[in-house]
Amino acid sequence: MLELKNLHVYIGKTHVLEDLSLEVKLGEIVALIGANGAGKTTTLMTISGLIRTRSGTISFQPDMESSRKEISRRKVEDIVSMGISHCPEGRQVFTTLSVKENLYIGAFQRRNKKDIKDDSESVFNLFPRLAERMNQRAGNLSGGEQMMLSIGRALMSRPRLLLLDEPSLGLAPMLVERLFERLDRINKEGTTILLVEQNASMALELANRAYVIETGRIVLSGTGHELSDNKEVQKAYLGLT
């Protein structure tokens, strides 16, 4: 579905991604794990078009029927309309907008009012807390609620592929567990997910496959279980010795 091939990305003069390649297949949850500053966020931003590549290709095929398209030179809004939705790090909801407005703005490119309303209903189903606070300013929500809103907002564009950047950031363990259950559900309902996480053990548990990134390069890849059994990964990212 999504294939990154030999990506090189620079921020200023810093070579942030070096020859990075990875693949996400239709229907999968793929996790990308690694330390701070390894290039996880940059990878997602490159896919969604916020950062331009120096070289390499990103190709995307929304579903089986449609054709493969090279997207590394496309505009952000075109990439969104092709079916990739990026939920950025640090629950960046629009704090001055209401919860409902945040969801509606997630569906900005869509015109069918009824569909949008239905979809916001299903987000409220997924995260009932949001329904209760529908008309409040998003800035008044708690951290966990903002994270849910951020994910809900990303779902409003009806993405084929959801890019999630550190959804567990700063959430209490109980909440993280619940959040991951929801992600599982979203995936089962047909959305492919590329997940960036620090909480490696949870991410590896949820994901079908995973990549380990280190200073802009993929150093390991495999199924979630393979990686969580890998001694190196355990030592470095799971804190188990």
Binding site: L169, G170, P173, S201, M202, E205, G239
Partner: protein, 263 residues
């Protein structure tokens, strides 16, 4: 009690309505290498900003070498002996590496306007001293080859070294290192950690180290504090921390046994 270098009690910091740090306490003994860990957004950088005086606490107190530095400005704290590095490197990008280091000597050696303009002998001597000391530190850290290079042109890993050298140049008692290995590969990480342990022993410093990499921090710190969502979750030796159930759940994720039963 006499060895107490830094003491923070009941620190609380709010940004707007969000509590970044709550009821935070820490006592650093002189000459220890202390680790501070926690997930992203746990409040580690806030702790650093409070200690250095970049921001000031909403309530609570900080003492350094017996002085109350709760409301003290960052440059005052630095002159008292608190130095730091930044998580997102903050070099003086358009200046040469040598000038970057020299700037750190300004506080102790730099002369004011009139000695500078009149080119007094004292001024010429301090300029020579600053240059000599800077080269010495650059040699010590291993960045001498970059002296005329603009800081912005250095590779990431070496930029971190420049930050470290710059912090050392302020002649600190306490160094706060904010994720010095972020963005480095394992090889570079190992090198940086070696450097840190070396300067720790060589310069008789106290170090407060924020890290993400468990391996690193478990390896070199004798005491570790764990932060989560602005609160202290645990404090203890690496072994104690590793076994602490709360820490494992919050920071490391659920234990394996439970995970498998889930799957």
């Amino acid at each position: 009690m006499s060895n107490k270098l830094l003491h923070a009690e009941k620190l609380c910091k709010k940004f707007g309505g969000v509590t970044a740090l709550e009821d935070y306490n820490l006592t650093l003994e002189e000459g220890e290498l202390f680790g501070l860990i926690g997930p992203n957004g746990a409040g580690k950088t806030t702790v650093f900003n409070l200690f250095t005086g970049v921001i000031h606490s909403t309530s609570g107190n900080i003492f350094f070498k017996g002085h109350d530095v709760t409301r003290s400005r960052a440059d005052k704290n630095t002159s008292l002996g608190i130095a730091r590095t930044f998580q997102n490197i903050r070099l003086f990008e358009d200046l040469t590496v040598l000038d970057n280091i020299k700037i750190a000597f300004h506080m102790h050696y730099g002369r004011g306007l009139f000695p500078t303009l009149l080119n007094l002998p004292g001024f010429r001597r301090t300029e020579r001293e600053i240059e000599a000391h800077s080269l010495e530190i650059m040699n010590f850290i291993g960045i001498l080859n970059y002296q005329d290079e603009l800081a912005r042109n250095l590779p990431y890993g070496d930029q971190r070294k420049v930050e470290l050298a710059r912090a050392l140049a302020t002649d600190p008692k306490l160094i706060l290192l904010d994720e010095p290995t972020a963005g480095l590969n394992p090889k570079e990480t190992e090198k940086v950690m070696k450097t840190i342990t070396y300067i720790f022993e060589h310069n008789k410093l106290t170090i407060l180290l924020v890290e993400h990499d468990m391996k690193v921090i478990m390896g070199i710190c004798r005491r570790i504090q764990v932060l989560d969502q602005g609160k202290v979750l645990a404090l203890g030796t690496p072994d104690e921390i590793k076994r602490d159930q709360k820490v494992i759940e919050a920071y490391l994720g659920k234990p394996r046994a439970k995970r498998n039963s889930h799957a």
